[in-house]
């Protein structure tokens, strides 16, 4: 009972200040929205396609056809199409370097002849293909060019076949041009509904179709939640340090409350605080951002409990090693940044190097984000969170043991 009283006292102390509530809830919500808009590209009014610049030095009907294919693409958007000049080429490169466009495409003079197999004038792509967006643009340009080239091949084959079959009718240049244009158009239309396709599917896609869709905020919501759970320890750990400095902890020992009871009371307060914080953030994620946390409520509950236990244990450890309030702020912020940054809370770990991914998975935060994304992105069930939750509990036990061992009442 005294443990409960102590926990309630801590909670009251933490939440009585409205500024604390802002820190615990308003900030993570604000940052989830901010970073969600930045990373998820949630900008319904704009063109989500990757902008490219095009320099058409060929100026032929086929080069125009290629630009039309670019324009119809769902991946790239030719926002800046230039005429032929050296100044244009320099400007084109500048546009890429300044980041105004992802890539620039130069359609060289003679490109049309090259497509017909009469010369060699490859398309030039100016892009940083080491980046994700650069490589996506490269493969899309490649895909669209293959489409145009095969359409030209179809047109050439048609002309050759008809000339061979009926040279009297199709011997003239006018007749051949008509056949060429008609076949080219027919081939491009055929490309709209190809009979050989790549069917894209993935983990949880069936459930996604039946239940709820994954949200563009799924990564940001999980990452920010993990980050601010740790950041929220600033106020809670401060309470313990202030009690130690003011010798309140020692005075408590003169009562029937044991050292274990004091630790348990403070630990319980931190657990409840983090649990409540995560609960509100999950509620916000589900209702406002459509992140499907509630599609597997048991799995979500397991992850929230595991993350709360770990964060509370970390809080106990921080309060055990901090001598002043300033130290609690510093430890909380440093741990928040290192654990969040390296655990994949800021950016998905898949965008990082192999070594970094391995290092990241030595940290509890990577498992917390993984577990949440198993529910909201991979659309998996309870079984999928058992391992992440188990690892979080392992970290929780380690921090708790260290915190208890190092805990001093004076």
């Amino acid at each position: 009972m005294r443990i409960l009283d102590l926990a309630l006292k801590d909670l009251y102390q933490i939440i009585r200040d409205w500024k604390g509530a802002i820190f615990l809830l308003a900030m993570p919500i604000a940052f989830t929205l901010l970073l969600g808009f930045v990373f998820a590209g949630v900008d319904e009014g704009g063109d989500a396609r990757l902008p490219i610049a095009v320099l058409d030095a060929d100026g032929s009907p086929l080069s125009q056809e290629l630009i039309a294919l670019f324009d119809a693409s769902s991946v790239i958007a030719p926002g800046w199409v230039a005429e032929t000049s050296a100044a244009d080429l320099t400007e084109l490169e500048r546009q890429v370097v300044d980041g105004n466009v992802v890539a620039a495409v130069v359609i060289p003079a003679g490109y049309s002849d090259a497509l017909r197999g009469e010369s060699n004038a490859p398309l030039q792509l100016i892009a940083d293909t080491a980046s994700g967006t650069g490589s996506v643009v490269e493969s899309e340009i490649q895909r669209l060019q293959t489409r145009l080239r095969s359409a030209v091949a179809a047109a050439r084959l048609s002309v050759e076949a008809l000339v061979a079959a009926d040279p009297a009718t199709y011997g003239s240049e006018t007749a051949q041009t008509a056949v060429f244009d008609e076949s080219l158009a027919a081939a491009l239309v055929a490309w709209d509904t190809p009979s050989i396709t790549l069917a894209e599917t993935g983990t949880g896609q069936e459930q996604e179709a039946q239940e709820e869709e994954s949200s563009g905020f799924s990564h940001t919501s999980a990452g920010i939640m993990v980050q601010f759970a740790i950041a929220g320890l600033i106020g809670a750990t401060e309470v313990i340090v202030v009690e130690r400095k003011s010798r309140t902890l020692q005075r408590m020992l003169t009562t029937t409350l044991s050292k274990a009871g004091i630790i348990a009371g403070h630990y319980l307060a931190m657990f409840v605080m983090v649990f409540a914080q995560l609960f509100v953030l999950i509620l916000f994620g589900q209702l406002a951002l459509k992140v499907p946390y509630f599609r597997e409520p048991v799995a979500t509950l397991i992850m929230v409990i595991a993350l709360s236990l770990f964060t509370a244990s970390l809080g106990l450890l921080i309060s055990a090693i901090s001598k002043t309030e300033e130290h609690t702020i510093i430890w909380s912020m440093v741990l928040m940044m290192v654990l969040s940054g390296m655990g994949g809370a800021w950016m998905p770990l898949e965008t990082t190097s192999e070594t970094f991914q391995t290092l990241g998975h030595f940290l509890p935060t990577a498992w917390a984000v993984d577990g949440m994304k198993n529910i909201t992105v991979r659309m998996l069930g309870v079984n999928s969170v058992l391992m992440p939750a188990g690892i979080l509990l392992g970290f929780a036990v380690a921090c708790l043991v260290a915190g208890v061992v190092l805990f001093r009442t004076e």
Binding site: G41, G117, T133, A165, M342
Partner: protein, 440 residues
């Protein structure tokens, strides 16, 4: 003189504190180092990515002969080795995915069970499963039937699967191209009333194969190169160093404002500890005491920024660009950060509110100001997101440093300089007025 004494005392105390040093220098460098670790080796200037684990299921077994020459191969696979001796299109796709050129980015595991392959992706043992159906070659060679290659991926991954999808997609497009080309030619013959004989059909296929072979020998017709606008030294820019530079600028500005706030906090803590009231009993004017503290804050941040600039260049190879603008940015960031600290601390009633100030005001305004750092790699960030950063002084400080790194001139940065000066003046006047009133 007294003012300088106070400033010197405060600076000495700051630089003696291991925790202050950790926040001024350690955390910004650690954060930049995290990104350095995350995205590769600055020395090589290349960004390295983890290999994508691919489960390959090839169920294809053709009932008719397959000629690999009819397929236009993706870039880098035009040679004869990949297609030599293959008896099905499924085998051709498998050969391409197994090839040496992709070994650095793809790790292939072959299995005969599609269910098991999907389960591996579900269990995060693989990122992608490519499942080539039975009768795939037959479907490609027939004009009547269609076929689907299943591309099953972990939805949390994007880059690795997109590379695999691109390679498989190019092969599929090659198959489709052949099919469409031959079909269109035959349709034209039919429309012209020409009776299509098996010989004519064979001629069309042969001509397509010839064309495809010629195209393969020429390459795929796409030359790729990185943009080559030279930097100040006439060398191509180091992309990773530039990215780390952007991150470090964000961290420098963020922690400069943090230092400004902690420095100004000494006014509150010394007041609570009784040091400040005792100082006020000496002949030293209040203005000199407070002025010394303001000066200490500004100078501490200047030292912090100079050390981080040098460390950034030495450790991460960051090219800072226009040095005159770097100096201007250093001074203006220091002024804005120091006065920001005075401003926010003048509203603080006691040291207990420090958590809210650091966690709330410094973090919120800092991260908002750094939003352009987050969007730096985005080609088309959402409308207005970078404008939001300009509602806080940190956003203008980041803008000033970014302009310097991009080789901008002081004249180009006049607006930024003016706005930072205006923020600094406003913060200083309000903060000083409030402290003067408090200690009057």
């Amino acid at each position: 003189m007294k003012l300088l004494d106070v400033a010197f005392k405060d600076m000495t105390r700051s630089f003696r504190s291991a925790f202050a040093l950790a926040f001024m220098f350690g955390v910004p460098i650690i954060t930049a180092f995290i990104f350095f670790l995350a995205f590769g080796n600055v020395g090589s200037g290349e960004i390295t990515l983890a290999r994508t684990k691919v489960q390959l299921v090839n169920l294809d077994s053709p009932s008719v002969a397959f000629n690999p020459a009819t397929v236009e191969m993706p870039e880098g696979f035009e040679g004869a080795d990949t297609a030599a001796g293959v008896e099905s299109m499924g085998e051709l796709i498998a050969n391409v995915l197994r090839s040496e050129g992709l070994a650095e980015i793809i790790e292939i595991t072959e299995t005969g069970d599609a269910v098991q392959a999907r389960a591996s992706v579900d269990g995060q043992e693989a990122g992608v499963a490519v499942i080539i159906p039975a009768g795939f070659t037959d479907a490609v060679l027939s004009s009547q039937t269609s076929a689907e290659i299943e591309f099953y991926q972990d939805p949390t991954l994007t880059i690795g699967p997109s590379i695999v999808k691109s390679v498989v997609g190019q092969l599929v497009d090659g198959f489709t191209g052949a099919k469409i080309s031959i079909a269109v030619a035959l349709e034209q013959l039919e429309a012209a009333g020409v009776q299509i004989t098996p010989e004519q059909m064979q001629t069309v296929v042969t001509h397509y194969v010839q064309w495809s072979t010629e195209q393969s020998q020429r390459g795929t017709g796409l030359e790729v190169r990185a943009p080559q606008v030279p930097d100040a030294e006439g060398e191509a820019p180091d992309w990773v160093a530039a990215m780390i530079g952007t991150v470090l600028v964000g961290m420098m500005v963020f922690y400069a404002f943090y230092t400004g706030t902690t420095s100004a906090q000494t006014i509150i803590t010394e007041d609570e500890n009784g040091t400040l009231p005792r100082l006020f009993t000496t002949p030293t004017p209040v203005a000199a005491i407070l002025g010394g503290k303001y000066l200490a804050s500004g100078l501490t941040i200047v030292v912090q920024l100079v050390v981080l600039v040098i460390a950034g260049q030495l450790i991460f190879g960051i090219v800072w660009g226009n040095w005159l603008l770097v100096v201007v940015s250093t001074l203006l960031t220091a002024a804005a950060a120091a006065t920001f600290g005075i401003f926010v601390m003048s509203f603080m009633e006691d040291a207990r509110q420090a958590g809210f100030i650091y966690g709330g005001v410094v973090v919120v305004t800092g991260m908002l100001g750094m939003v352009s750092v987050f969007t730096a790699g985005m080609p088309n960030p959402p409308t207005g997101i970078n404008t939001a950063a300009l509602f806080v002084p940190q956003g203008w400080a980041v803008r000033s440093w970014t302009l310097a790194m991009n080789g901008g001139t002081v004249s180009e940065g006049l607006l930024t300089v003016g706005v930072l000066l205006a923020w600094s003046a406003l913060f200083f006047l309000v903060g000083r007025a409030r402290f003067n009133k408090r200690f009057a």
